[in-house]
């Protein structure tokens, strides 16, 4: 039992939680502003991870640098998907009625394509590289340098996202669009530009998260799906479209996962996440948690 109170577990939970926070924020931006259910979100994480893996393996580029490449590529991919697939669907009032369901199918298709293309190009062998894996001790907590880097970078990204949404006029416009689409148009927000921005930021954050993950975890073409699930659990836990609560929920899920596994067994890892999902859905249907603001 005493291990439960160790700094070691706390540190592990913070690292996992901070990755979930980034993933949840991106998913929530895309859902909140456009009602699109991005079932390929975890696969963007996978692409970000491979970007850093290959840049490190082939050219020795530090992941601390290649994460910018991964973020930019993912953001560009998001923008391309918005322009290619969703812009016209969103503008058409009749099609936009059924968008939630249709988007789930479309993104599911994208997810399958991305996984298979990645499996074809990179084959399915799990890959990893070592970077900053020296052990640093604080008191009796042993941490690898790469995990510390993940935590710091994720914290900086979260803080930046939080400040952007709070104080930047475009951040306010994103929240405005989430809360009241018609009112956002009334005040002169260029809706299409904000939607594009949400796609770019959302996908960019997923790519960054993947890049960070590649420093500490093995990567495979199919690594994305559990993150998609974790993302949806988190977003529903925080209330669909509720950005700050979604971020808090990401951290919460990281704690549930790490402490849950410590209390039970590593094989129950997925069961715990689905468990939270089911409990949340159950509580929500009774109206206890995070309803979307109407």
């Amino acid at each position: 039992m005493s291990t439960l109170f160790s700094g070691q577990l706390l540190f592990a939970a913070l690292v996992v939680g901070s990755i979930y926070v980034l993933i949840a924020l991106g998913l929530n931006l895309v859902f909140g502003t456009m009602r699109l259910l991005d079932a390929a979100h975890g696969d963007i994480v996978m692409l970000g991870a491979y970007t850093s893996f290959w840049l490190f393996t082939l050219s020795g580029m530090s992941p601390l640098l290649s994460m910018l490449v991964a973020g930019a590529l993912s953001a560009g991919f998001g923008a391309a998907i918005y322009y290619g697939l969703f812009r016209r669907l969103l503008a058409n009032t009749q099609l936009s009625q059924r968008l939630e369901g249709n988007s789930l199918l479309l993104f599911f298709g994208i997810s399958i394509i991305l996984q298979n293309v990645a499996a074809l190009c990179f084959d399915t062998t799990p890959r990893a590289y070592t970077y900053l894996d020296g052990i640093i001790r604080f008191g009796n907590v042993a941490m690898t340098g790469n995990r510390i880097a993940v935590l710091i970078i994720a914290a900086v990204l979260c803080a930046a996202a939080f400040l952007f949404l709070r104080f930047h006029i475009y951040g306010l416009a994103i929240k405005a669009l989430i809360q009241h689409r018609q009112a956002a148009a009334v005040v002169g927000v260029n809706i299409e530009r904000i939607q594009l921005l949400s796609f770019a930021i959302g996908f960019g954050l997923a790519g960054l998260a993947g890049s960070l993950l590649s420093m500490t975890e093995q990567i495979t073409p199919f690594m994305g799906f559990p993150f998609t699930v974790a993302g949806f659990v988190t977003v529903i836990l925080g209330g669909l479209g509720n950005l700050t609560r979604g971020m808090a929920a990401g951290m919460f899920l990281g704690f549930v996962e790490i402490y849950g596994v410590a209390l039970t067994s590593p094989s129950l890892h997925s069961v715990l996440i689905y468990g939270v999902f089911i409990v949340v859905l159950f509580l929500q249907s009774q109206g206890l948690l995070g309803r979307r603001p109407s």
């Binding site: 009749q94 006029i169 306010l172 416009a173 809360q179 009241h180 018609q182 009334v186 005040v187 002169g188």
Partner: protein, 237 residues
């Protein structure tokens, strides 16, 4: 003087419903022009079409001599056509101040956001007191003030007001009418749809009456007050 707004044969609707069947009217500079008509006559539809929130199905909209029929709503706000919608449509989970800042989202207004905030707080001291409160927690009257102040943050040339006194206590309604007169005195042009026909006509330079999406009557404020048909239909005389 060229008109601020000219609508020519304007038609618009929702899906299969056509709510506006070819309405033409003009709004003179620095005037208060009012739209009257019973519920469902098409007043809001007309204002939404002018603001670019509904696509134009037929006809043209000319603003200060420029054809804006194909402009997006955000472009129209940037040109100076600003709507304060029916039902206020404020952002419930943003603070009063954030609501106001978003009012100055258009590039033209954004550079003068701070100045606009000061002016809004001078005009509506109540909003200053409540600046960090969520928009959704304001009373109906306060929300109307916020919607109006948010519209003014965009530095409009033509202000479209859709039933600004709906559901307000008489004192509050009087205050809104006073504000509208002040805004005209400060140089704004106002197009107003209102339920309170008598008070609206008293401040109106020009009035138009809509019936089932068509123009039924028009005239100066004084002419319409004197008109028997208006008296029997809207003033209960």
């Amino acid at each position: 003087m060229t008109a601020v707004l000219e609508a020519e044969d304007l038609a618009a609707g929702y899906g299969d419903v056509i709510a506006l069947h070819g309405v033409s009217l003009t709004v003179a500079p620095n005037s208060i022009t009012v739209l009257l008509g019973s519920n469902g006559a098409g007043k809001s539809t007309f204002l939404r079409t002018i603001a670019g929130l509904l696509p134009t199905r037929r006809g043209h909209i000319v603003f200060s001599g420029q054809d804006i029929t194909s402009c997006r709503s955000d472009q129209r706000v940037d040109l100076g056509i600003v709507m304060v919608p029916e039902g206020r449509l404020i952002f419930p989970q943003l603070t009063v101040e954030e609501n106001l800042k978003l009012g100055a989202f258009s590039p033209r207004a954004r550079t003068r956001q701070a100045e606009g905030l000061d002016q809004a707080y001078v005009m509506f001291p109540r909003l200053k007191e409540r600046r960090s409160q969520m928009g959704g927690t304001l009373s109906g009257g306060e929300q109307q003030m916020l919607a109006l102040a948010r519209g003014l943050m965009a530095r409009p040339q033509l202000l479209l007001l859709d039933e600004p006194t709906l559901g307000l206590a008489p004192v509050m309604a009087t205050m809104i009418f006073e504000t509208i007169k002040q805004l005209k005195a400060s140089g704004l042009t106002i197009l107003l749809a209102e339920q309170d026909v008598r008070r609206t006509l008293e401040i109106a330079d020009q009035g138009y009456v809509l019936e089932s999406g068509k123009l039924a009557m028009s005239g100066s404020g004084a002419e319409l007050i004197a008109d028997q048909r208006i008296g029997s239909a809207y003033l209960g005389i």
